[in-house]
Symmetry: C2
Subunit: 554 residues, 2 copies
């Protein structure tokens, strides 16, 4: 019997996962992985940390070497070879050996496209100068690392304030390099909501990373020797002896398009839930393939390493022709990143996305400690919940803080995957002991605040609306103690400590809108109840209190 | 209008939560909290850490003082008063002032029982000796702490190897006291499965905590001055100048029973999902009330701080007569504890419970790193999944290791709450970046192993069955490298490294059962596939590999 032939184009996460899983499912397969890279199966998400020397050696990033695939799985991995054409009629892939230039052809019974994505290079002058780089492969990262040691890099500019750009900026900054992030959008982390992103910007500024938003790069300037010397922006020049381009990635779809494989609305390869393309026996996995958003059912493109692994596995099982089938129902666009000691995570729809999709959106911004306040290491996190007002269904969440955020975001991921309502979220029997959580978890606290809001027990004013409201005559009242007020308060506020509110309520003008705040929101809620009981009608709370307030304080 | 009167008996977590929530819902209420303790609203779960000096000061444990309740919420808290009788006909509670002996009476419109639970005192001689103590209240913990400083405690015996007993043992051991845990059951952590508990026992032994199981305490011996000197057990004497009794708690239900409130099958107060007892206008919350197990729908009693907070809140909302109602559908018996650097968590049904309830149980034991293996701080955890073979529904999980376990247990909690199948568990779009997770989370890895097992791709042998199988003639094959084998292996095993398995397979007797193991299970799975391809029929894998093997290794 002739073995069935599987050809896989691409050898990072999804391609090698598909190969290994298919072989485990059906050891009779004859599997070849073709990659134009020198490395396979490397940890792409670890590259920023490798640059930052958190990870010292290149080899730590290499999960498996080509020879390991042969020895452990009986899979042939061919590096330095570029697939140039797919001929579905002949079930053949043409490829060029990058060392010899020789053209080769590979016949397949099943073909897997795992061609990944490539950095987008902005169409401005100077992107080919020395020290203007992208960081997508191990080779590129090793080149940067060498450069940091051999050349005296003092000023780096990272173009693009998305997650990878910020991770790179953090790691460069940690190495003592003066680092500026330039972002075209009005705020960094463009997929996050602005109230969250502004808090992250403040944090980065505190840590000495220069963040410039709403700014377009016009060109990169030559130092006279073919290397970059400065970045020209529409807000002036920035000195730079290193420029990292991180303005996003585009799916590598040329091979697919050229052979008649359908691309979807996002520009990536259209696939069904078995990771099959429109052409028989051709699968697409990882960053070159589209995804479905579990909440909206819409086609999206989230090029994430975790999804790459899952899609590779699904294709591996299905193409092995095993009795068991596997499928990929969708994803939530979950992300997480660490910047210095700050953790930032997101899942599901942002407030902005949810509104633009027509949901009746309610949000809360709830600070709370990540573990028992008296247990050493307790740190605050801020949870933003985005909920559909009609169904109470949780649509998304964003969490940031120096405390643990990966746990609560994964609770939200799981809950949202099952269509949870906020009522259900509040009652989860989550694990509690003082080293790990508060008795009522941050998730439950945020859900309870949302329940109160949905029940009309209070109205909130978001930090972004505050200035406008105050200009329209609203009175901002800080209900913390006078000592706390001395330490930090919002300009323009008056201080009436909660415990003196009843006796001093006469100082407040009942005709004006009164906005209350404290540190995290509990005291302002109690103050709101007191004022309402006194007959005040226009009272609201500053969402997230001082803890989530992203503007200047005194 | 007369205010509606609420009387709450008990002032720790559930009672104060019910009071505060009811008042926020309806500020017109007239709420009195009666407690026989001196403290209210304290962090009961923090007491072991207070004893261990991880938490230095008593005041850190006190969330709120009685006067805070008056000032912040307008709630009257009366301490040092013991409720002695409930008269539902008269809607009156009688109580005794513990300082003056005076009898008082309180009329209520709504009554909340939050009487908690008390340590069970084993019926043996000597429990009233000096330095034989329980640790349930701040007063008790402060007394122990004083005693540790003032008397030279060298040898402590903790009677009871449940979670609180072990936490206390850890904290005493951390203070340099030679600590022995005596447990009557065959293993510590009696609610956990034995394969998990034995690993914890090994870990404690490594850390210098003496654990004796299957042993009954017969009496406590007097040192001649009214203090304990030794513990007499059915396995001999243990020197002890401090004994901590931690053999479980019993719900405080005398008041309830005496006035005709129905107790449930567990002995705690029977309540509906609104936390109402059988008598109108009387609620029961926290440790004195029963719960429902979300998976089985059966009545259970899980006295946990996290549940106490939730039930208090539910009662608070319902009795405030607000338009909004709240209910408590059930819990999963989730628990977590930290012992030195080891984290141990559990949710849902144990394997033992699931089997005794008649489920067709499948389990896996899967070690995996908690974050990218190359990221600093990456540590291993072992996940045990318990699944119903017919429906693939996840019934429970237990996770232990020096890595993060609270996150994956809370993912399981959330998934199980929504009736997740293991197939769904494998596809969750959990957050991934190298500092937080591996690309395929430990949850997905464990779920995938379970999927393979359910699909019949391998059979596993649990660590507990291994010895028996070997005695019956099974051959145990270690497929790690010869260097790894030198470092650690299971007595009686032979070493055939995975990469030499094909050439050396002739050494194996095809008629015998062959059990393969490696460190975590991947290589043994690959070896199984190879041997099956060679026609071996009786091949299985040691579940959890060396990482979860709880017996002696060489």
């Amino acid at each position: 019997m002739n073995s069935e032939k599987v050809v896989i184009i691409g050898g990072v996460a999804a391609g090698t996962k598909a190969a290994a899983k298919a072989m485990r499912e059906n050891p009779d397969l004859d599997i070849v992985v073709l990659t134009k890279d020198r490395h396979v199966s490397y940890a792409g998400c670890g590259l920023p940390y490798y640059i930052g020397d958190v990870i010292k050696e290149e080899k730590e990033l290499l999960v498996k070497r080509p020879k390991d695939f042969r020895a452990d799985f009986g899979i042939e991995v061919i590096t330095d070879i570029e697939a140039t054409k797919i001929m579905p009629g002949e079930k053949t892939v043409l490829a060029k050996d990058l060392n010899t230039g020789e053209e080769k052809s590979y016949v397949y019974d099943k073909l897997v496209l795992a061609t990944g994505a490539s950095p987008f290079i902005p169409p401005v002058a100077g992107t080919k100068l020395g020290n203007v780089i992208t960081v997508r492969t191990v080779n590129e990262a090793t080149a940067v690392k060498k450069l940091l040691v051999e050349r005296n890099v003092e000023d780096a500019v990272v173009v693009g304030g998305g997650m990878i750009g910020l991770e790179v900026a953090e790691n460069l900054s940690q190495r003592g390099i003066w680092t500026t992030v330039v972002e075209l959008a009005p705020h960094i982390l463009p997929t996050h909501d602005v109230d969250i992103a502004l808090n992250v910007q403040n944090y980065l500024a505190e840590k000495g990373v220069n963040v410039i938003t709403g700014t377009a790069v016009k060109s990169f300037e030559d130092n006279g020797h073919g290397y970059v010397a400065a970045v020209s922006t529409d807000n002036g020049f920035l000195k730079a002896d290193l420029v990292v381009l991180s303005v996003g990635v585009r799916p590598n779809v040329d091979l697919a398009r050229d052979c008649g494989i359908t691309l979807g609305p996002t520009g990536a390869v259209a696939v069904n839930d078995k990771m099959e393309t429109n052409i028989d026996d051709i699968y697409a996995v990882g960053d070159c393939a589209e995804n479905v958003n579990l909440i909206t059912g819409r086609t999206v493109w989230y090029p994430m390493g975790s999804t790459a692994n899952k899609t590779g596995r699904v294709a591996g099982i299905n193409m092995a022709g095993a009795a068991a089938e596997d499928s990929m129902k969708g994803v939530l666009g979950t992300s997480i990143l660490k910047l210095f000691s700050l953790n930032i995570a997101k899942t599901g729809l942002s407030e902005r996305d949810a509104r633009s999709l027509g949901y009746k959106v309610e949000t809360v911004l709830v600070p709370a400690p990540d573990r028992a306040h008296y247990y050493p290491g307790s740190r605050q996190i801020v949870t933003k919940l985005i909920v559909d007002r009609d169904s109470h269904r949780v649509l998304g969440g964003q969490i940031f803080g120096e405390g643990v955020v990966d746990k609560p975001i994964d609770i939200l991921v799981t809950a949202i995957s099952f269509g949870a309502t906020v009522d259900q979220l509040a009652k989860l029997d989550l694990s509690y002991a003082p080293p790990y959580s508060t008795a009522l978890s941050t998730t439950a606290v945020a859900a309870n605040v949302m329940m109160n809001k949905l029940a009309g027990k209070f109205t909130g004013v978001g930090p972004l609306e505050l200035k406008e409201k105050m200009e329209a005559g609203a009175v901002l009242v800080d209900v913390t103690t006078d000592k706390e007020y001395m330490v930090r308060n919002i300009p323009g506020s008056v201080n009436i400590p909660l415990r003196r509110l009843l006796e001093r309520s006469g100082e407040l003008d009942r005709k004006k809108e009164i906005i209350l705040y404290c540190k995290v929101g509990l005291r302002s809620y109690l103050a709101l109840l007191k004022l309402k009981r006194l007959g005040f009608e226009k009272v609201s709370i500053l969402e997230g209190g001082l803890a989530a307030y992203p503007f200047e304080t005194e």
